[in-house]
Symmetry: C2
Subunit: 248 residues, 2 copies
DNA sequence: CGTACTATTGAGCGACCTCAATTGGCGTGG
DNA sequence: CCACGCCAATTGAGGTCGCTCAATAGTACG
C-alpha cells in the first residue's frame, strides 16, 4: 500500500486553519468563493452580511427540497452532497460540494429548494441571506458578476455530469469522477493524487448513475491495472497521465 | 390517425405573429422571456440594447464551443439544441430550447461558450450584448433578478435531466421527455397534447442517453399500448393522465 | 420519379444490474 | 482489550435492458 495512504488527515490543514476568523478577508477560501475580486468597502459590506457560521454533523441536512429559499451557503470546511428524489425512492445525486463552493442557487427560480443538501462529514458553512445578497449585488458590480459567474459555473458542471452519465461507459465515469476530485482538491491546495472520498460507494453510484457494486468492482479493476490504489475512503492515483489518456 | 396530426403547422400561430414588431413590449413572449416584470423606462432600456434579430436556417449554428461570449440570445421563434462533445465524437445534447428561452448563459463563467448551439428548424433569435446586459442589470433591479432567475431555472432543468438519465428506465425517460415538451408547448399557448418534435430520433437519443433505435421502438410500443399516436415528427398524446401515472 | 436521408423493425450480444454471500473496518459494551 | 454487532465494501453468479449491426420502409426534396 502506498505510504501516502497512511496519513489520511494530512490534507485537512488548509481547511482547519480557516476556522480562526470569520472575516471573508482573512478566509483562505476568498479567492475561490463569493469574495473573489472584491476589496475594501465592498468586501466589508459582504462580510457584514454573512450571518453566522453553522456547523453540521455528518449526515445532517442543510436544507430539504420544497423549503423556501432563505439563505445561500458557502462551504467553509467539510463536504456536502445535493440530491434529488424520484417518488419511489430512487435518488440522483446532482453534485458534491467542497470548500469555497456555494449551495442553494438552484432555488432562486421558484424561491424553493429543488434538492436536499446533506453533510458528508462534519462541515462548516457560512450563511448568506439571499434577499440581502441580491440587494447588495446591485450595488457592488463585482459581486453581481461573481454571483452570475458562480451560477454559470454550476450550469457548466451539471452539463459535464450530464455528458458523463449520458455518454460515458461505467469505467470512464468513475475515472472522470476521480479526475474531477483530483482537480478540485488541487485547487484547494491539497494533493492532486491522494484523494479522500467523503462519500460512500452508494453515493458515488447515485452520482454516476451506476450501482454501488459497479463502482466497487471498477476500483478493484483499476487497482489491478495499476492505475490507482484504494484503501477504503482513500484513493491514490498512481498516474494522472494514464488516467487522462484513458479519458481521451 | 388523429385528425390533429393532419394539420402540422397549426401550432405555429403564436410564434409567427411575434414577427410583426421587434419591441420587447409588444412581443408575445414578454412574460416568458427576460422582460418579465419590467415596465416603462426599464423595458425601454432593455429594448434599446437588444441589437438586432437574426434568422437561422435549419442546421445553422448560433455559436460553437470555445468561442468567446459576446451575446446572449433569446429565442423568438423556432427551436434550438445545445450539445457537448466528447473527443471521439460522442455527443450529449444538454437541452432543447423553445421560444422565450435564453441561450448562452453557460458561458458567463470562463467567458467562452461551453457547448454548441444549433437551430433545429428555421429560428429567430434576439441578440443581447452580454457586457451591456450585465451593466444594465445593475441599474434595473428587476432585470438582475430576472437574469438570476433564468440561470437558476437552467440549473433546475439540468438537474431534472440528470435525474432522468441517471435513474430512469428508457421508457420513463421518453415519457418524461414528451411530458416536458407538452408542458412547455402549453406555456407557449400551444396544444399540450399535440406535440411537434423539432428534432430527429438521433437527437432525442443523444438527449436522453439512449440509442435512436430505442427511442423509435418505444414510440412504437407506446402507440401499441394506446398512450399516444406517432406520425413522423408529430406525436399526439392520447392521455396525459395515463402518462403522468406511469411517471409515478 | 429518383436520390438521400430518416425512421422502423429484427436478431443477437454485452455491459451493467440484481441478488446474495463474504470480508473488512470500527465503535460499543462487557 | 477483546468480542460482538453493525454497516460499508468487496466479490461472485446469473439475468436483463438497451446497444450494435443490419435490413427494410417511409419521407422530403430536387
Amino acid at each position: 500500500m502506498s505510504k501516502v495512504l497512511t496519513t489520511p488527515e494530512a490534507g485537512a490543514t488548509v481547511v482547519s486553519m480557516a476556522n480562526v476568523k470569520t472575516a471573508c478577508k482573512d478566509c483562505s477560501l476568498r479567492d475561490l468563493c463569493l469574495p473573489l475580486g472584491l476589496h475594501g468597502d465592498d468586501l466589508t459590506a459582504l462580510e457584514q452580511m454573512v450571518r453566522r457560521r453553522r456547523t453540521l454533523r455528518k449526515g445532517e441536512q442543510l436544507y430539504r427540497m420544497g423549503e423556501p429559499l432563505k439563505m445561500l451557503y458557502a462551504i467553509r470546511s467539510g463536504a456536502m452532497k445535493t440530491s434529488e428524489l424520484l417518488g419511489d425512492g430512487r435518488i440522483q445525486i446532482t453534485g458534491f460540494q467542497l470548500p469555497g463552493e456555494i449551495l442553494g442557487i438552484e432555488a432562486i427560480d421558484g424561491e424553493r429548494h429543488r434538492c436536499d443538501a446533506e453533510a458528508l462529514s462534519v462541515s462548516e458553512v457560512c450563511e448568506i441571506p439571499w434577499g440581502r445578497l441580491e440587494e447588495l449585488a446591485r450595488r457592488i458590480t463585482g459581486l453581481q458578476h461573481q454571483l452570475l459567474r458562480l451560477m454559470s459555473g454550476e450550469i457548466g458542471r451539471e452539463s459535464k455530469l450530464l455528458l458523463m452519465i449520458g455518454k460515458m461507459s461505467a469505467d470512464e465515469r468513475v475515472l472522470a469522477c476521480l479526475h474531477s476530485f483530483s482537480e478540485r482538491q488541487a485547487r484547494l491546495g491539497l494533493s492532486a493524487t491522494d484523494i479522500k472520498l467523503h462519500m460512500s460507494r452508494q453515493d458515488l453510484g447515485d452520482y454516476l448513475g451506476l450501482a454501488l457494486e459497479t463502482v466497487s468492482r471498477l476500483f478493484s479493476r483499476f487497482q489491478e491495472e495499476g492505475l490507482l490504489t484504494v484503501r477504503g475512503k482513500y484513493v491514490h492515483l498512481t498516474s494522472l497521465e494514464a488516467i487522462q489518456r484513458r479519458l481521451g
